[in-house]
């Protein structure tokens, strides 16, 4: 990989050869392209910016310009092997709907997001008394796209409350262009949460 992007290495390891993949918030399509070249996946993307869509077209990817909060209901139950929601869940308007729909349309759903309980963010707000701003959350409060910040514990609680089975957790921090898994006290020490949920049991009738 020429350029490190958050969680790409973990996702590439996870996705099996030839899978049908939907990347929600696919940006310029780099992850899908990587998955296509290394894993021969059949990939699709959803991206809100027309520039992102144009870059996907340039890469030969199929991409839909739209909000990921809308339009997922176009897809039939379990149309995908994997839905990927990488670093975008916290900026969706209705995360609950995105998660529910992801589980309906896919057998597996990957959610990775910045962990708002990471010690660096806890220290920042308690010492400075301001909204934290660092490599995890690089925006000023007034321009951040992150409107639904969450922690690893929050996501786990959510899954328990809604009865969504967690298949795998691989919370991690990025160290020298690698994702390093942190199994011990992840809610304090992992920069990013990484969950794989089982979407198999969920269809329009059961969700």
């Amino acid at each position: 990989m020429k350029e490190y992007r958050v969680a790409y290495d973990l996702i590439l390891d996870e996705i099996p050869y030839g899978a049908r993949v939907l990347d929600l918030g696919c940006g310029d399509g780099q992850l899908l392209k990587l998955l296509q070249t290394t894993k021969k996946v059949k990939g699709f993307g959803v991206e809100i910016s027309p520039e992102g869509v144009s870059q996907c077209v340039e890469k030969g990817l199929y991409c839909y310009q739209g909000d990921i909060d809308e339009g997922l209901n176009d897809y039939k139950d379990n149309s995908f092997d994997y839905v990927i929601v990488n670093q975008t869940l916290q900026s969706t308007k209705k995360p609950e709907v995105v998660i529910r729909e992801s589980l309906r349309i896919s057998l597996n759903a990957i959610f990775s997001f910045p962990n708002f309980a990471h010690y660096s963010l806890r220290l920042y707000s308690s010492f400075y008394g301001r909204m934290p701003k660092n490599k995890l959350l690089p925006y000023e409060w007034y321009e951040t796209p992150n409107i639904h910040l969450l922690t690893i514990k929050d996501f786990r609680d959510f899954c328990n409350a809604f009865g969504y089975p967690i298949k795998k957790e691989m919370h991690f921090s990025t160290i020298r262009c690698h994702s390093v898994k942190l199994p011990a006290m992840p809610n304090l020490f992992a920069e990013y949460g990484f969950f794989i949920l089982d979407g198999g049991p969920f269809t329009s009738d059961t969700i």
């Binding site: 699709f44 027309p50 869509v53 144009s54 996907c56 077209v57 340039e58 890469k59 030969g60 990817l61 199929y62 991409c63 839909y64 310009q65 739209g66 339009g71 176009d74 897809y75 039939k76 149309s79």
Partner: protein, 387 residues
Amino acid sequence: MKAEIIPENSAGIVTTNYYTFAEPPDELLLVSGKKLGPITLAYETYGTLNSDKSNAILILHALSGSAHAAGYHAKKDMYPGWWDNYVGPGKTFDTSHYFIICSNVIGGCSGSTGPSSINPETGKEYGLDFPIVTIQDMVNAQYHLIKFFGIQKLLSVVGGSMGGMQALQWSISYPDMVQSVVAIATAASLSAQGIAFNEVGRQAIMLDPNWNYGDYYNNENPKNGLSLARMIGHITYLSEKLMHEKFGRRLQHSDIFKFHMDLEFEVESYLHHKGNDFVQRFDANSYLYITKAIDYFDLKNDFNGDLANAFVNVNSNYLVISFSSDWLYPTSQSREIVRALRMNSKNVIFTEIQSDKGHDTFLLPHEQLEHNIANFLKREFEKVHRK
């Protein structure tokens, strides 16, 4: 500006060709149940068909278009073909790589069989005896042209507006002949508002006393009616913002109102100019028939009221594009097509392009539109050759 110096990236001097088929007793069976034949289709080609015939792109025009998409017919021509901005060497539809075919439609008046053609049964122009043709009929006629070229599979079928309707229909009627579709500013069916505007245009023609129930070919043409129809149509192709920027409330010859009924505002004279230009090159009956074909087009209706059914058996990859300021074929209608494709897990790209220029954006130079189409075609070509 005349084309005495033809630009380097022009398709150059081109000629319209004609292909005739469906000679009786093998007439084309139309959707209405009537038969039409013989049929002549006008077409132009640009570029060279490669040895395995895998680089052919079919371009389909909108309501008032013709087979003349690019280049010039003669050095003295004032204007090049209708999509010259996009078709030529090094352009979006790069004629140094692709073989481009632009086909006229049946019902038209630019060299193809239509109401102004001679009816072999009577020896006179068809007029209103010409059968109603649909978008599906237009496509079925073009199928014969593509077969004539010996092309098994088109790399892409492309069109804007009514051309987009034909492109969608192509992928549904002939799923194994279409590798990809570029559907621009189009719809699976025209809105009630669109039908309303078409009907006003048709009434303008039919209320012209010269129209004479379509029998006017040996007399004065209903040019006032046709011109008015074009003026109405033209308003729907532009956005409010574009009209404001182009004309505002400016007056033509003075800064003060003259308080009379003659043309005063610039926008008025622009519309008259558009109307007058149009009657020089278009047949009023063709306008009636083609707008009717657009109104009848309804993929949902064709497939038991469910648009998703229309795309169950398609084998093409789609690029669907809408324009933010297009109110005649709004983005919501493109999304409807895309939704139906996604429900069938088909390969589709959708993008809404920001533009102030309304429905007609696709005819004007637009960098993002050009890049998206060019990149899509390039990748589709690669996909064909990787197989």
